[in-house]
Symmetry: C2
Subunit: 217 residues, 2 copies
DNA sequence: CGAGCATTTGAGTCTCCTCAACCCGGGTGG
DNA sequence: CCACCCGGGTTGAGGAGACTCAAATGCTCG
């Protein structure tokens, strides 16, 4: 009932380009992506990460121009839905409209926490917080010693936390030295969840996992 | 058709408390407010400002718990709508559902820009950017020499930009010294819009004013 | 006219940045 | 099969922007 095209994008491809007019909207099937904005001096800020099952650009349905870009992390597969098809369906089914709204609200909650993270925490806490968030979002359960496959370079982490890659590197080394995490070649292991959570001042309330799980069927 | 109560809140009152369960949702009629989160060491991050005509906590309709607080700036008047009433109406009127979704998307666009602002700009640019955004949102037109009434202290500006109030003070003084702005006792005058815009790396695209104006009837 | 808050100033410090070089592992081509 | 190359990670030294702490000044309101 909802027409969609399967689209495979290659590593590091731009899925949504800043400044262009959107015609469709993508749901991530496999792989990961991130949103970014570039400032005048060329620095990049990563604004969010997206994993399978999430819409990566729901704003494209209602906003006339992309105010930021979306880039693939590794190869990924998308379900691309024409915006008019999605809007038509949303207009007919109130429950779907509500689900879209909710999705956008949940996304907004994460953005708010990111403003706090880059605005009011030091490098160590920012990185710890990011790793905690990703661990929770990747499978909603975080147990000590569990490995998460994260196709991020240290440069991605730096751009997501508002730091330089050099300082990010040194900060990650400190976390490793203290046996809190292992992070290498796309694999993250959190050895001491409670400690990392404490360092990152992490409180998962903003992720609203309960409602998220319940409403997404 | 939509039941609401008029509520006047006093200066600096907490309108929404972090951690509590929301029962209603407020539309700002007069005055201003801001959203905030507090981190463990006690520092505060302001996440957004809200002006008359805007919903200050639309997320309260669908999320089960407040993940942040909302505080009044000066005295303000709200239209308080019970969440069930609003949700009921939204379920019946697709156009309203779409308007709520759009409002949330626009808010998300601002959050994204704020992540960039605190993450990748220096103090001077952060403050200039914030002042540009507020000027545009306050009346959508920015002409040199126009005065805006902004009930913000330097501490509010500091908490919105992720700086300390001391450094904010020195940075504002520099902007004043260069005759770019006047900012005192709740009154902002931008003497050189283009210069301030340049310093703040400000591009109003993310505010999506066209659609905003068009759809809000 | 005093109280209380906001703003301003100074001095010293530290976190994080810049620049530059080097290392390492994996993939590629000769 | 080895040399090379390239992207990512690591290291060092030096500098700068922003922070901390503390005190003084100025404004506004009762």
């Amino acid at each position: 009932m909802l027409p969609f095209a399967r689209r495979v994008v290659e590593r590091d491809a731009l899925i949504v380009r800043e400044g262009e007019e959107p015609a469709s909207c993508g749901l991530m099937l496999e792989g990961c992506a991130f949103r970014q904005k570039v400032v005048r001096n060329g620095a990049r800020q990563i604004i969010s990460f997206h994993f399978p099952g999430e819409f990566i650009d729901l704003q494209n349905c209602l906003l006339p121009v992309n105010d930021h870009g979306v880039q693939a992390l590794g190869v990924c597969t998308l379900a691309v839905v024409p915006r008019n098809a999605l809007l038509g369906l949303v207009a007919q089914r109130p429950s779907l409209a509500r689900a879209m709204w909710l999705d956008t609200l949940l996304e907004g909650a994460i953005f708010r926490e990111w403003v706090v993270n880059v605005g009011r925490r030091n490098a160590r806490a920012r990185i710890a917080h990011l790793l905690c968030e990703l661990a929770i979002r990747l499978d909603a359960v975080a147990e000590d010693g569990k490995a998460y496959y994260l196709p991020l370079t240290q440069e991605h982490i730096a751009d997501a936390t508002g730091l330089t890659s050099v300082h990010t590197n040194r900060t990650i080394q400190a976390l490793r030295r203290e046996s809190l995490i292992s992070l290498a070649s796309g694999r993250l292991v959190i050895h001491d969840w409670n400690a990392l959570r404490g360092i990152g001042d992490f409180n998962e309330l903003y992720l609203h996992r309960e409602i998220d799980r319940a409403e997404r069927r």
